[in-house]
């Protein structure tokens, strides 16, 4: 990262709270903070994402909720998931969570990917797909604990949120952050965002009586570079299927990095084995040698 300050927002008109993106260059690791308790479901982030990434307009679906479409698409990387959660006392809690790539510290997609250079994790924590190196095998889809990568059948490539790596590389905040009108989206260093998130969770506990409020930063995959403040961190599943303990399948960890090379080498030892057999034991010949012309070699008793 550079220490360039061009086009870095310091103040934004009509914008409450800390200025998004301000001071993000103090640390390498970046982080997006999504405060689900102040999200109003306006979908400005969805539009900003489509606009900035220059996506073709996709047809939305209507299912009697606010949900734009059931899940993200190859050309729609950022989707607010709405859920009407019924509490024990019968009251309804309307939950909204901005769903996008979590930019895991230990990315399952990267572990699953067989193609050289198709998935890159930058030192600032952004996990990015390079479509020109993608072979379209979709192993990343099965490696991802958040079900994020999306396949485009036309190009046979996989796409997902880049955390606006093109903007962040230029010292700008991601497009969704810039569009958020409530300040529920924040962007900065991982330490700062964790600090703000924990402060907000404390505030929710002390001032609003939400004793289960907390921060979602799952340590089972080494933490993520998108973190959430949740009203009830004990049950992230209710926020549109956020896994409580996301994990990478073992076929992409221990199998791929240990058993595959070891067993593959054993199979190659079969080749060495037959070579040594030829040298040490020798071939089995038809008994006796078929023609008179070949004399008696190889038939000594």
């Amino acid at each position: 990262m550079t220490d360039r300050k061009t086009l870095q927002a310091e103040k934004i008109s009509g914008h409450s709270g800390a200025s998004p993106g301000f001071g993000m260059q103090r640390d390498y690791e970046v982080c997006k903070l999504v405060d689900t308790t102040t999200c109003i479901g306006c979908k400005a982030c969805e539009v900003a994402c489509v606009e900035w990434n220059d996506m073709p307009f996709g047809v939305t679906t209507f299912d009697n909720t606010y949900q734009t479409m059931p899940e993200t698409r190859w050309n729609f990387w950022n989707l607010i998931k709405f859920n009407e959660h019924q509490r024990e006392d019968g009251t309804i809690q309307w939950l909204m969570r901005k769903d996008q790539c979590m930019h895991c510290a230990d990315p399952g997609c990267l572990a699953a990917c067989p193609a050289d250079g198709a998935i890159v994790k930058y030192t600032n924590g952004i996990v990015d797909f390079n479509q020109e190196n993608c072979i379209g095998c979709e192993f990343c889809v099965s490696g991802c604990p958040f079900d994020i990568p999306r396949f485009n059948p036309a190009t046979k490539k996989v796409y997902k949120c880049t955390l606006c790596s093109d903007r962040v590389g230029q010292g700008l905040e991601p497009a969704c952050i810039k569009a958020c009108p409530t300040g529920c989206l924040k962007f900065g260093s991982k330490d700062d965002m964790k600090f703000i998130a924990n402060e907000r969770a404390r505030q929710l506990k002390e001032n609003f009586g939400m004793e289960n409020a907390g921060v979602y930063d799952p340590q089972s995959i080494g933490g993520t570079h998108v973190i959430y403040v949740l009203h009830d961190a004990t049950d992230p599943e209710r926020y549109g299927g956020l896994p409580k303990n996301p994990t990478i399948p073992w076929s992409y960890t221990i199998w791929k990095w240990l058993f595959k090379p070891v067993l593959g080498t054993f199979a190659l030892l079969g080749g060495l084995g037959v070579l040594l057999h030829y040298v040490a034991v020798g071939p089995r010949r038809p008994q006796p040698e078929p023609t008179e012309k070949e004399a008696t070699h190889g038939n000594g008793d």
Partner: protein, 251 residues
Amino acid sequence: MGTVIDRFDEKARRTFDSIGRTEVYKGELLRHPVYTRVLHWMVALFFFLALFSGFGIYLPWLFRWFTPIFGGGPLSRRMHPWFGVGFVFFFFLQMLNWIVPMTWCAGDTRWIWNIRRVVSGEQELEPPETGFFNAGQKAMFWEIVAGCIVYLISGIILWMGARYFGGIAVAISYVLHDISAIIMLGGIFIHIYLSTIGEPGTFHAMTRGAVSEAWAWTFHPAWYKKVTGRDPREAYEKALEQQRSTPPKTS
């Protein structure tokens, strides 16, 4: 076996024999007809295409070695399933063609328990009950049958991907597909070795289609007995005697 399969194989062998030719010279026996040979080499072709296109995807550090053969990563990934389909298709026909001689019998179990003597070269002649295929060949055949089933099911899951079958199915298929490939890779070394330099005289069974009588009574005595009506051990002794009495020529 079902008569439909018998009729199909019979017709296929006749058709291929009318197109291709098999020269059987004096002192030789017909081993494989044209149909069997064509199937074998189609299976072999698709096996190696699938093997090398799969290798690139098998391990990241083989990616740059094997994907350029097929025009790069994306094309390797596109073609590999079709190579696999070709392999399974031709092997399926070969299975119908060979299922009768490949049937396992009691002698084969004894052969397997006796494998140490075969590998060490102590056993020069096959036991008299060894027919058209020995137990090692049968084991390899049934391993490929099992492997094809694993390849086909796990391969279709990997081909279509997690969108259709879910991440867990893909993660499991990934491992099963690999295990099948590792076993077959190990097996192919033994197969190529024994059919070429390991047992001289075997290779042209699959190219010209004919083998020498000596080869037949050495490696497949029961088959020799069936096709010639002669006793393999007697023929062997006679040939040995004849060989001893012929003075060695210096060339």
